[in-house]
């Protein structure tokens, strides 16, 4: 059994594909050696050793690897010419953990291992920088004490014993910053640190490099089974058995003097995706100096340096003097770096983010990884690499992070304008995009102001269907209450409208028409700006810019369509939404909610008349008024979606959502309908429910009031015939909501078929239509084999299915969801990311049962999850026919669907 793999000087015993054995870090260090990149030499103790450590214990493992560790340290010494544990010519090393899957919660890094008093003296002399030597030493003692000897407090609010000592020393000296401590202070700190270790552990701090090394190795292996690591594995379904590797590597320093430097570099521009090598460095510095902001980092390339100086208003002379490029200061190293970054990109076929250190004129790469980038850069780089022949089409698709596309689909704030904007509140990023407008509090006002040509932002405690018209004309919506799936959030996403929800810190007063936030009282008409992608709210009007959606974006989308096996439909309640979605590539409507239509214009009156009706005849009379309006709605939808399927859901929400709750409106309604206020109040009270989510709604309405289903079916079929007559191609699908019992769908289907046949007879022509159901009640999934006898299609309503499978009310889950995610009880919000383990099990079961009855049954989902990538891939893995999502999520779903097809 080979327990250790060495690397260094262009050779390595491991490879990139030995990730399971060497961990991600170890495999990658080996690979860089193999392609000739200069990497400090070292070795990797395998994950197999970790497994043995867990099963057989420490002694067995030491016995097994002792000789190999010594040999491997000699391997490092032979390449560097230094000696481990030798005060005259010391070799220091770093020790890092590295599992096959990146795993926070484990022991991470110990640097400068091998140091002691004598070594520190030697380092001070050799580097000519005693401060560096002693700072390294005291840092090592602290790091080793905290991490290896377990002195770091478990509770974050408790104080690290080493920090306590530093504070005391600084206080005695009367200084505030670490940098103000001199060499003597650092020496003193080291002594105090070691005393603290003795007091705490009862043992002297180890001065032998070998003792230090073994302690660090044990610490890595022990950390594999600490509570945080176990919890992380549980939450991420990582097996406990895979173990971690240990990487030991020679230390190199960028702060050894003026021929030393350190920096970070990107093989392409991470913001725009342009193929320009770029990066920053500092001479005589450590890695953390580059990012700490104490010194101003310089550009690696002269070209980039000049552009940078121009932006900063620095002239060429000053630039050359104060901020020369690496090309100018260390031309050989710079040329080598340019060559290496190209080699790494060509090898990994992706934009690389690299860390390097130059020690005494010699360049070392410490890390390379695929670089993080913006959505725009992601798209451009992928398509550029395709055109360069570096990657193929499938790889382009796999490279796209679907959610990042969102950045490309909504207006965004101008970066400069945003930098100077004042943030006044933060809520949930409920619906992406940027918007500025004048504050209004009521839907009526929003409409009036918008008619006057004003841009408005609706600010509400929460929204309800009555606010719909106001939301339609507003630039954005800000609410005090409600989560990512609150009414405001769901509706806004459907409209592609910017929304910040659940901003708990703002104080809304409808009475005074004010909202307090960021220490200021805003009145109706004051300007604010919302970033729905971040949840941030800004004072005043912040400038926005639009993003280009053609070019590479379109090319990526075309590739997705080429490889996908699943269609992407959209949830749309109006022809306008349908058109937007079609532009984004939607291939049908998977959910058209008819209830939103009932709030438009005067039709709410007829709706209310229907609800208040005391008998079937009066109800039918009121429904007759709604019929032509609904028919008109559906005609618009069918025309906008000509050639594609349009799935119309029958009335779903409980009736109480349609009746006025305040006495004034109730009085008005009573007068209009010629009934008493008492009667209205009685009806409104009788509609009240303890748990409306589980109440009289969905097909329960259609089954207790069949005349509603009749009217809606008539409107759909008549509209389909009318639009077909105009030469369009119509494909209506009628969807019955909230089915849980076989007879529910059977009876609804009977009504639909009977009504459709009646219309066909009247009109003397037919259209083909399909009948299906939402699977959104757990019981529906359990008896899907029966339901499929009647249903042509299933559309999984994952919002409600999640509510009932978990027993969580979307409206109330905010009371404990954040606590649950913080405590690690839930990995994430199941209303955002489909719970494949629980809810997914029901979906899978329903799909199987449905197909057992009807092999070609049409399957899709239309919950909020239809636009969430992991959920879309889950649907693809079940060979669904389509997912349906809000218009602005269509491109995201298209990519995710294609990725799902490639993964299967």
């Amino acid at each position: 059994m080979k327990t250790i793999y060495t690397f260094g000087n262009g050779k390595a015993e491991g490879r990139a594909d030995m990730r399971d054995l060497l961990g991600g870090k170890g495999a990658n260090l080996a690979e860089m050696n193999l392609i000739g990149v200069p990497v400090p030499p070292g070795f990797t103790i395998t994950t197999d050793v970790c497994k043995l450590y867990v099963s057989k214990g420490r002694e067995a493992v030491v016995e097994l690897i002792k000789d190999d560790v010594v040999k491997s340290i000699h391997h490092i010494e032979s390449l560097t010419g230094n000696k481990f544990d030798d005060p005259d010519n010391p070799q220091l090393v770093s020790v890092r953990s590295g599992a096959p899957i990146s795993m926070p919660g484990m022991m991470d890094t110990v640097l400068n291992l091998g140091i002691n008093d004598a070594v520190a003296e030697t380092l001070a002399k050799k580097s000519g920088n005693p401060r560096f030597a002693w700072d390294s030493y005291r840092r090592f003692v602290q790091m080793y004490g905290d991490v290896v000897l377990g002195m770091k407090p478990q509770n974050k609010t408790d104080i690290d014993p080493f920090e306590e000592i530093i504070d005391k020393v600084k206080a005695e000296k009367g200084v505030k910053l670490d940098i103000e401590l001199d060499v003597d202070d650092l020496k003193k700190l080291t002594v105090l640190f070691k005393e603290a270790v003795k007091k705490n552990t009862g043992k002297e701090f180890p001065t032998s490099a070998w003792d230090q090394l073994w302690g660090a190795i044990y610490a890595v292996f022990d950390s594999w089974n600490n509570d945080r690591a176990i919890l992380y594995r549980q939450m991420n379904q990582i097996p406990d058995e895979i173990g971690t590797a240990v990487n030991v590597q020679a230390m190199v320093y960028g702060n050894m003097g003026n021929t030393s430097a350190t920096g970070v570099a990107f093989s392409r521009d991470a913001a725009t995706g342009e193929n320009i090598f770029n990066g920053e460095y500092l001479i005589n510095a450590q890695g953390e100096d580059v990012v700490s902001g104490v010194r101003t980092p310089q550009q690696i390339m002269t070209e980039g340096s000049r552009r940078w100086a121009e932006l900063q208003g620095i002239d060429e002379e000053e630039r050359k003097a104060k901020y020369p490029s690496l090309e100018e200061t260390m031309p050989e190293c710079a040329a080598q770096l340019v060559e290496i970054q190209q080699r790494l990109e060509n090898h990994y076929h992706d934009m690389q983010d690299m860390e390097f250190t130059i020690q005494n004129g010699k360049l070392w790469l410490l890390q390379t990884r695929n670089g993080k980038r913006t959505g725009a850069a992601m798209v451009k780089i992928a398509m550029d690499l395709l055109r360069e022949g570096q990657i193929d089409e499938k790889t382009v698709i796999k490279r796209i992070e679907p959610t990042k596309l969102d950045e490309l689909l909504h207006p965004v704030f101008d970066k400069a304008a945003l930098d100077s904007a004042r943030r006044v509140a933060k809520g949930l990023p409920a619906s992406p995009g940027a918007a500025s407008g004048q504050i209004v509090f009521f839907a009526d006002d929003a409409e009036k102001w918008a008619q006057d040509g004003k841009q408005v932002i609706m600010v509400r405690l929460e929204t309800s269907p009555e606010d719909l018209r106001g939301m339609t004309v507003a630039q954005g919506i800000l609410t005090n209450r409600g989560g990512m799936t609150s009414h405001a959030a769901v509706v806004a996403r459907g409209m592609g409208k910017c929304c910040v929800s659940g901003a708990g810190e703002i104080k809304v007063s409808y009475k005074n028409r004010t909202v307090e936030m960021g220490g200021k009282t805003y009145h109706e008409g004051d300007w604010i700006s919302l970033n729905g992608s971040t949840g941030k709210v800004y004072d005043g009007q912040v400038k926005t810019v639009d993003v280009d959606m053609s070019g590479d974006f379109k090319a990526v989308m075309d590739l997705a369509d080429k490889y996908t096996k699943m269609q992407v439909y959209t949830n749309a309640d109006s022809p306008r939404d349908a058109k937007v979605a079609r532009r984004f590539g939607a291939k049908g409507i998977g959910l058209c909610r008819t209830e939103h239509m009932f709030f438009e214009g005067d039709r709410i009156k007829a709706m209310r008349e229907m609800i208040i009706a005391e008998n079937v005849e009066r109800r039918k009379a009121a429904l007759a008024k709604l019929l032509p309006l609904q028919r008109g709605d559906f005609e618009g939808m069918f025309e906008a979606m000509s050639g594609y399927e349009v799935t119309i859901r029958l009335l779903d929400p409980p009736l109480h959502e349609f009746v006025p709750q305040d006495t004034a409106s109730q009085e008005e309604l009573a007068q209009e309908l010629g009934v008493t206020l008492d009667h209205i109040k009685h009806v409104v009270a009788s509609l009240k429910e303890v748990n409306p989510m589980l109440g009289h709604r969905g097909c329960r309405l259609g089954n207790t009031y069949p005349e509603i289903t009749e009217m809606q079916t008539r409107a759909i079929i008549e509209a389909a015939i009318n639009v077909q007559d105009k030469g369009f191609e119509v494909h209506p699908k009628i969807m019955i909501p909230l089915v849980g019992v076989y007879n529910e769908i059977k009876m609804q289907a009977d009504i639909i078929n009977r009504t459709a046949e009646a219309v066909f007879k009247e009109r003397g022509k037919r259209v083909s239509y399909k009948i299906g159901t939402m699977i959104e009640i757990p019981r529906a999934a359990l008896i899907a084999d029966q339901i499929a006898k009647v249903a042509d299609f299933f559309s999984f309503g994952t919002n409600d299915l999640t509510q009932m499978t978990f027993g969580y009310s979307r409206d109330d889950v905010g009371k404990f969801l954040n606590d649950y995610i913080k405590a690690g009880i839930l990995k994430n919000d199941p209303f955002q990311i489909l719970d494949q383990e629980g809810v997914g099990q029901l979906i899978k079961m329903a799909a199987q049962k449905g197909r057992a009855t009807k092999p070609n049954i049409n399957l899709g989902i239309c919950g909020e999850h239809g636009g969430e990538p992991s959920s879309v891939k889950f649907c693809a893995s079940l060979n669904f026919d389509y997912v349906s999502c809000s218009p602005y999520r269509v491109p995201i779903a298209r990519i995710a669907a294609a990725q799902g097809a490639l993964e299967n």
Copy 2:
């Protein structure tokens, strides 16, 4: 293939065990012949013929059975000496359907088939009763027209064309009753009827007996696939393939004169179970005369007749003259009947309910079946039959209808008193028993009045946990709203207290302290009586009687325990309930709800203080006040259940149930706690939820406020140690409610174990305890394999599991449930009878998954279904360890569990 089985004159080709082939009725008619009971001769066309009729069509079947039908009619003729289709010596027959499983919705019966004008004349002459002949004729035409020729309106509100004619004829004659029509009128009706048939069907009414017979046979087979029959089969999971048989039998008449009679008889007393043959008869009468109440029926036995006369205040002379027994009027027939009833009982080994007809001095049995009986009679008869050696122990258990035991467990109204009582309202029979009391509307008053020694009935719109103390002292509860599983109903059943819920017609005014019902306004203090077994409400005070629970009742229960494999536990929240349940045979507590305890006495104050607390410290301080109180509660439970398991559920309901909703109480609370009213109002508002059922409750509370779980665990463990110290045997089980995610139970279990260990350390001794969970969220069933890693036991909370699996809110389901049951969408209320198809699937899955992880995991249920027989049997079929139900349902569950064990 034998298509027809004949019977008659003590011979039969069929047998009782040929039910599948001959249907229930046909098999039974054959059997009676075989044991020598005189039955009018006839024949049965098999279910196989029906199957052919469905698959091959009418012609094929006629071809197949034509000759056999003719032969079988000759068989009847040979035994009766009459001739079918012969006007001089006519043989009339009845035609009845009869499937292997009794099935309403099909064609039922056509009597007097074979009649026409000539036959009617003959009948009139032979019987000397022309009215009988012509009434039989016109009835036949109507029955045949309705049933065979399809003239019965499908819609129940439409008028039967024949009834229309009768009404017209009666109107012309100026009479009101059918009986007022004379022979000429009946002749006229027959003519009009036949005209209506011609008008309606386009064909003459068939005068040939053979045509009539074939028409009736077709009609039976056709009715197998009519809508109602199909729906009934669907709802009752009866296979479509089994088909129905057709029974053709010679007619006999009890109204041929004074040597003819008809009656019904019981082999034992159906009310008391006493072994006394009894029954009623009428001379010269038809079956329907006995039950119609126009004439007073006479007793069969002289002994019975004397007892009857005494009760009626009729002296022996008058009795003998007006109401002689059959023994006195037709001694030979009576003696024969006595002998036959004994033979039938000995044959069927059960009390028989018989119909007989005496035609011209000759006794015929038309039907025998196991007789309906009261709960008391059921128990007595079963035990008597066991002692008589007629049946064995297992049969005794199978014979008990579990729900009928309920009659034996609660006080009932005195029958005579009830007869004269005025019914003023009707609600749901929410909790059985009878109770009288004075009306009170508020819990406080109930307590005060009860302290004064008054009997009170609480009348409420609905009840809440705040009413608990009032309910405890009340005789019964009447509510305006809420179903069988409303708060009032569930709590009342738990207390074994009479409750009528959801009496929608009553009008309660808290303000006036009045309730309007039955046209009268009742004030506080007025007397009413409730029957919780029927849902009826009576004016005034109705006398009640208690029932004996020893003797045969105890004997039956002992038998149940001998054969059951599943234990019956009880749901009990107080030592008093626990003791009652133990007396009823409960072997443990399956659910002790700790929240009810928080309402008792002053402890609600500490509970509120805990909820209002702004931080952990204050919350812990309030919990510390609750600790000794809870510990005391648990001590009482452990003592009462010494030797048995006590399952204690941690806090479950949402906190808003504990805080006062009205400003006055809130002000009081604010003063007590020294906080502002605004703060109280803020907390109360923040606890409000849109769907509290799916909100912040169950273990979600324990996970966000771990200190609650700590306090409750400490109370349980300390109580267990204290009670163990006193010499009792304690078996605490700690039950975590509303688990849906693995980490929820893991974290709760960690808290419980940690707390328990702390207590053990403090006290220096240990008790063994178990940790388990309710499976009441669909997701919990889906991931039961994970949950079982932590849980020692699962208790299925079928109430909530039903709510979430169906998506029905128990509190709101009343809005559509009745409509659903009426329309046949649901077979019954899933909150009363466990939905084995949907919810049961989840239970089965969870049981399998749980056992896969932990083969010996302890399984039970504690929902309302734990006392419902079919649900208990379902649990038995899954080899559950226990079911838990309210104390008064324990005996029912014990029998059902034993029956389940015998069925497996």
